[in-house]
């Protein structure tokens, strides 16, 4: 599985006690140089460096065609009052995910919303840490016997990253996990 990581995802995930799940779930994660430059804190730098050293994380070679696509997207969404502000690094990740057919790892609400309505970018699959945890169950990396065990894993993440997953999304994921457990 191939992904693209944005800075907020890496900052939060680096705090998580089971962060090694990511390395087992993905074969390759792409990162833009500007995303890397956003990371300064020791936990995020140490974690990201270890991923780069292992070869799982790789700098994406940005091209002039990518820049053209970014400029078009920026024109389409930057002045859209429906969206939270979207900055250049957020949009770069979305462009990379679209061009490479990768899963975008992001905790950015604006990015999630673009993929809910944009005709081109609605094809991009976005995973927050919640979907990473969910898919770690399906792939056998996280062993659970009940929904409560899964929700406990989610709670651990929320505690480590100081996150709250909104109830609607959590209910949707919990329903899918329950169905998977019944199979």
């Amino acid at each position: 599985m191939r992904g693209v990581a944005d800075a907020c995802f890496l900052i939060d995930w680096s705090r998580y006690r089971r962060r090694d799940l990511l390395e087992k779930l993905f074969n390759l994660i792409l990162i833009h140089e500007e995303t890397l430059l956003q990371l300064r804190s020791p936990p995020a730098i140490e974690y990201t460096s270890s991923l780069l050293a292992s070869g799982l994380l790789r700098l994406y070679p940005w091209s002039s065609d990518d820049e053209k696509q970014y400029n078009k997207l920026r024109e389409e969404v930057s002045l859209d009052p429906r969206l939270p502000s979207l900055e250049r690094p957020d949009l770069l990740c979305l462009v990379i995910a679209h061009r490479t057919g990768s899963i975008l790892l992001s905790e950015n609400l604006g990015v999630l919303r673009v993929t809910q309505f944009h005709p081109l970018y609605s094809r991009v699959k976005v995973w927050t840490s919640l979907e990473v945890l969910e898919n770690s169950v399906y792939s056998g990396l996280t062993d659970i016997d009940s929904l409560d065990e899964f929700l406990e894993i989610v709670r651990e993440y929320e505690e480590d990253a100081r996150h709250i997953f909104n109830k609607k999304r959590l209910d949707t994921v919990a329903k899918r996990v329950s169905e998977w457990l019944r199979r």
Binding site: A7, C8, I11, D12, Q38, L39, R40, S41, A44, R82, P84, S85, E87, P89, D90, E107, L109, G110, L112, R113, Q116, F117, T128, L130, E158, A161, R162, H163, I164, F165, N166, K168, R169
Partner: protein, 73 residues
């Protein structure tokens, strides 16, 4: 999802950030950090909040964690 649903979601998320925040910590911060934390509570945008604070994204995030303000997604 409709715009009205997004607006409702924004209000819910804002209230969650506001209610969990450590206001004593926030009010004890220098003005630019306090302003950045309050902006984050209102809008949930770490990038812009970090620019207000004059910090990198994850330097701001460290302060957000200490202020007990959750990221809500």
């Amino acid at each position: 999802m409709k715009v009205e649903e997004w607006e409702k979601e924004d209000e819910e998320f804002k209230e969650m950030r506001r209610s969990k925040a450590d206001w004593e910590f926030i009010n004890a911060q220098p003005p630019h950090i306090r302003a950045a934390l309050i902006y984050f509570i209102e809008r949930g945008d770490r990038y812009v909040a970090s620019r207000i604070a004059g910090l990198s994204l994850d330097e701001f995030d460290e302060i957000r964690r200490r202020a007990k303000i959750p990221v809500v997604v």
